[in-house]
């Protein structure tokens, strides 16, 4: 037997193992066809599968005329909006949440075949209320309260974590670490940090020859399927003490796949790649795989807003789109315990809760058949109204050069 014959046998064996398609597949296809328009962005296309089977009825929504407020400047309800600014120059916020920083990223070529995608941060200067460029950092996580940020210097993985005083712009303390760190996230109460450790720079790219439709093409690739992630530290911010836990890497994670705390802070989780988008694996603080907390098992790792401040609602992904000028997107709000949809709320990508009834989201300003161009908006449960918070973010030129990405923190 030669390789060709083995290919033939393996393919036939694999094909023969497939169970039949579910009954009703044709109706599912027809239903999706009715709803779908040409998708121009990957996230929307990937979310389409999730639309199947979800009731499309949207609860009665008022049009929001009664709660219109000025969208510029500081509103009476703590809304700080600058819908003419992209990227934002002046503070943006709503309720208890503030855009604490934003960053762009771009490939920095190190040699003919190696490079790193580096971030450039703009941090909120609390005194002036403006975002100020700070090129010192590879990675920034802002603690609740907006007084402190945890930072990593250029050159990942880093062997010390800085605690930056956002008022003075100075690092007040360094936490030395033995294992190199590539990503940081604060616990919900801000008292602890989870620092994800990597053997090499998680933003490394190598130039590789790939087979494109029209012949070979050279692409800058990350190490998909062979991440150097090694584990995580859980650190007490006040004392700089903590411990490291190993988590073996496997082929289901991206090169950069940072950990974050569960709401209660008794576990950490990270995204992994599988049969659908937004999968998450939880770990105990000593690095053992564990089940999701009861109120987080229905969440998606790719929807940043997660649980509402009071923990009674869960923000999920895009579940409906309505064409128009502009198109309207709706995301699901679930009961976190049961996973049942309670309502839908405007917004294509729910980023952060402003309070228990309002969220900050990306929402498109274009029709469904046009290129996806979103802006930050404030959306309210039970209302169809969106309040623009930022200017329109133009599409990334390519995946190696990202336009601004928001970083939120609680006031």
């Amino acid at each position: 037997m030669n390789v060709e014959e083995l290919v033939r046998q393996s393919l036939r064996e694999q094909a023969g193992e497939q169970p039949p398609v579910d009954t009703g597949f044709a109706d599912r296809v027809l239903a999706v066809r009715r709803r779908r328009r040409t998708r121009r962005i990957a996230s929307v296309a990937a979310a389409t599968a999730a639309v199947v089977g979800i009731a499309v009825a949207v609860p009665l929504l008022d049009r929001g005329e009664g709660d219109a407020r000025p969208a510029v400047g500081l509103g009476t309800d703590g809304v700080q909006a600058h819908p003419d600014q992209s990227p934002p120059r002046d503070v943006i916020g709503a309720g208890q949440t503030v855009l604490a920083a934003h960053y762009t990223s771009a490939l920095r070529v190190r040699s003919e075949k190696r490079g790193t995608v580096e971030r450039t941060y703009w941090l909120l200067d609390a005194r002036t209320g403006m975002y100020k460029k700070d090129t010192r950092w590879s990675f920034v996580a802002v603690a609740p309260g907006l007084r402190t940020a945890a930072v990593l210097e250029r050159g990942l993985p880093a062997h010390r974590i800085g605690l930056l005083d956002l008022a003075s712009g100075r690092v007040e303390r360094w936490i030395q670490v033995q294992h190199g760190v590539g990503g940081l996230a604060f616990s919900h109460d801000g008292s602890r940090l989870v620092a994800t450790t990597y053997g090499e720079d998680p933003d490394l790219r190598t130039k590789e020859k790939m087979q494109g439709p029209d012949g070979p093409v050279w692409q800058w690739n990350s190490a998909y399927g062979r991440s150097s992630r090694s584990g995580f530290y859980v650190l007490d911010v006040a004392h700089g003490t903590g411990s490291w836990s190993a988590v073996p890497s496997d082929r289901t994670i991206n090169a950069r796949q940072d950990f974050a705390f569960s709401r209660a802070g008794d576990r950490v989780y990270a995204q992994y790649v599988g049969g659908r988008d937004g999968l998450q694996q939880f770990y105990s603080l000593d690095g053992a795989k564990t089940a999701a907390p009861a109120d987080e098992k229905h969440l998606r790792s790719d929807v940043p807003a997660r649980l509402s401040p009071d923990g009674r609602l869960a923000a999920l992904g895009l579940s409906r789109e309505v064409d128009g000028d502009p198109g309207r997107s709706y995301s699901s709000i679930l009961d976190p315990r049961t996973g049942k949809e309670i309502t839908k709320v405007r917004g294509a990508d729910l980023l952060a809760w402003a309070d228990d009834k309002r969220l900050i989201a990306w929402e498109r300003v274009t029709g469904l058949d046009e290129t996806y161009r979103p802006r930050l908006v404030l959306v309210t449960l039970g209302s169809d109204k969106v309040v623009p918070l930022s200017g329109v973010r133009e599409p990334d030129e390519d995946i190696l050069r990202q336009k601004w990405v928001p970083v939120f923190a609680r006031r």
């Binding site: 030669n2 083995l6 296809v29 999706v32 399927g225």
Partner: protein
């Protein structure tokens, strides 16, 4: 699409979708969810032209193949992709060596680029001659031949155990064993 056409479409999907899904699974490197997604997209396209299609199955298959290798997939590398682990070596010493090799092969096939995998599925699962593969994929016979050759070389590089099957290849210079999977997955 009128009611009659919808009935015809439903009948086609019910009778042929299981067979079509087998091909889609192979094209997707064994990822059933990705395969259903692929097939669903192909069927949606077919539904849009249903009353003008003479041979629905050939039409859907062509969409499957072309969709799998299309520029769109290359352009959006953050899209979810299948992740197939290489199978663990069989623990049972009596396990059939052939079955073990097939499992190894399956893992290696999952790590090819969609284009490489598609060409192998057409050549060795559908048993199509090179000229037909070229017609379906809209490329030259020479491209089919070179892609087939490179795909087989890549399989040998991914699973060196396969070289034992092909003594001629055992002495060949090994190709770099880098995984060419798309780069970042959301």
């Amino acid at each position: 699409m009128d009611a009659e056409a919808q009935d015809g479409f439903r009948g086609f999907v019910e009778s042929r979708s299981s067979a079509l899904l087998k091909t889609a699974v192979l094209l997707s490197g064994g990822d059933r969810h990705a395969a259903e997604d692929l097939l669903q997209n192909a069927l949606i396209k077919a539904a849009g032209r249903w009353q003008r299609i003479d041979e629905p199955e050939a039409y859907v298959r062509q969409i499957l193949y072309r969709q799998q290798i299309s520029r769109w997939r290359l352009k959006w590398p953050r899209r979810e992709v299948s992740v197939a682990d290489l199978p663990e070596p069989a623990g049972d010493p009596d396990a059939s060596a052939a079955a073990e090799l097939r499992l190894l092969m399956r893992g290696a096939l999952a790590r090819l680029t969609p284009r490489q995998r598609t060409v192998l599925v057409l050549r060795y699962f559908e048993d199509l001659p090179e000229a037909d593969v070229a017609r379906i994929l809209g490329c030259s016979v020479g491209t089919v031949r070179s892609t087939t050759h490179r795909s087989l070389a890549r399989l040998r590089a991914l699973a060196p155990e396969l070289r034992a099957l092909d003594p001629g290849a055992a002495t060949a210079r090994p190709a770099p064993s880098r995984d060419f999977s798309p780069m970042e997955v959301r």
